[in-house]
Symmetry: C2
DNA sequence: CCTACCGATCGGTAGG
DNA sequence: CCTACCGATCGGTAGG
């Protein structure tokens, strides 16, 4: 079995899910169709679906890629910052930048799919719940550290603050793309800062 | 032309868009199919689409119904309250109640569809933009009144505060349905209160 | 409102 | 990775 063909196959699979992520960020995970991917990538439908078996597996693989992109863009830039408030402020920066200069056509894939699949049952719903649950747990941990450090008020509820930050970040999607609010990222960043008790940072 | 048949037709049309709104709140406006509506309502597909002509018209009619439900549930309960802060606090109450005790299976239809259609082009996108734009304008106006009354700080940006409230309200959808957060409404209400400078109301 | 039908596209398979 | 094909469903129309 020649090495090159396996490499090429991995490359093709990667190309498929990257294209799927881009489509999904605009049209949703249900908006992805095998036929469209085949046309876009100049392949046969069988060649596309052969890498995954079923459309659901393709959706799960696409979600996985989107989660990796999110971690790379929002989490990786702050991992060297000190845990607690300093890292949280870095997250605000990275998160709003990620939403304001999107790498996928439809903005934040995770936000779009969260609203698409929240009310459905199935494996995609469950995988999404895990992905976002992990991220929220991270936020809660950092907020708790900041409270323990005395950098945030002791009566702040970490779960509630994490909810607020997440909602304010997700809100950038429709603000930018539906109403065309060019200030969405700044609004979101300031609102997140307010949650963290940082009143006027600019 | 007998009166009854026109009334019945109106009733049928209404039944179709009510069912469509319920499906749409879960599966999105693209998740609505004429065949499924026909099955659910025990009609023929031709009988369903005959009331609208095209699927896009059906989607627009469904959006219109959802907008009416929103106004009825969130705006009407507060219209007798004094403009400004008092009315804004009433909106927080009505909005979180509307999201926490949803009349449609998938929670807030407007929030779901905002995230579904934000990145698309077309008449549904445009109609949605109008609906939500009208609501945001209302919020901005009430916030401005509260500032003029001296009930909110003069340096508060009404646009930004409206964005925050909207994002925090929309965030209840995935919080409730994806993670199963039963406290989502309370988190959202408290966060909205914080935006309005009301720190501890319970 | 119905039956009967249209072409297009859906996800997916067989066989190579 | 391909061609060739499957049954099901899509939105929609004709005619009544």
């Amino acid at each position: 079995m020649p090495r090159r063909s396996a490499l090429e196959a991995a490359g093709t699979r990667d190309a498929i899910i990257r294209r799927a992520a881009d489509i999904g960020s605009v049209e949703g995970l249900e908006g992805i169709t095998i036929g469209r991917l085949a046309t876009d990538l100049e392949m046969s439908k069988a060649g596309v679906i052969g890498h995954f078996g079923t459309k659901e597996e393709l959706q799960l693989a696409t979600l996985e890629l989107a989660a990796e992109l999110f971690v790379e863009q929002v989490w990786k830039p702050v991992e060297d910052l000190r845990p607690g408030l300093e890292r949280l402020l870095g997250i605000c920066e990275a998160w709003t930048r990620y939403a304001d200069e999107p790498i996928l056509s439809g903005g934040c894939f995770i936000a779009a799919v969260s609203f698409e699949f929240d009310g459905r049952a199935g494996r995609v719903h469950d995988a999404l719940k895990q992905v976002v649950g992990r991220w929220r747990k991270t936020l809660v941990r950092e907020i708790s550290v900041a409270i323990a450090d005395g950098d945030l008020p002791a009566d702040l509820d970490p779960e509630q603050a994490a909810f607020s930050m997440e909602a304010l970040a997700a809100g950038m999607n429709p603000a930018r793309q539906l109403y065309g609010d060019t200030s969405a990222a700044e609004w979101s960043r300031r609102a997140m800062h307010a949650v963290l008790g940082v009143s006027r940072s600019l």
